[in-house]
Assembly symmetry: C2
Homo-oligomer: 84 residues x 2
């Protein structure tokens, strides 16, 4: 069993209005030290497959479902889960 | 200037219906190796403050704005940004 963390973020060239709104809210609360906020999605995924299959499966579901590859980019970290 | 990555996730005891829906969608696409998906939020934040202030500021905005501490938990990683 493998544990995969997937991070989906807007490409740098794409505006992030949600992040901009949160930054404005943070400033209204008085935290002026915050220069920039960008918001992404974070997935924790458990996969039961062989090591070779895990990477292919994760890339496939990111491309097909989790990320909009026109506007977003993704990266992932795979770790092996210890069986209890 | 510091660069902070913040991960906000539901507590383990809290159901994640959005993650469940995505898992079902992934299964319909034929990826049966996916056992579990949980979805969180991911923030990339730039802070211009001293090292001591960054941690306090991040915890304050997480508690007050970014996370619902009744249902969610958060963790963060702080790194120093190189000035160009």
């Amino acid at each position: 069993m493998y544990f995969v963390k997937v991070y989906v973020t807007y490409k740098d060239s794409v505006l992030d209005p949600q992040g901009e709104a949160v930054k404005n809210a943070v400033h209204r609360l008085g935290y002026d030290a915050i220069e920039e906020i960008r918001i992404g999605k974070y997935f924790e995924i458990q996969v039961s497959a062989s090591e070779e299959e895990v990477e292919a499966t994760i890339e496939a579901i990111c491309d097909r479902l989790l990320a909009n590859v026109n506007m977003e980019t993704y990266r992932y970290e795979i770790s092996k889960m210890e069986e209890v």
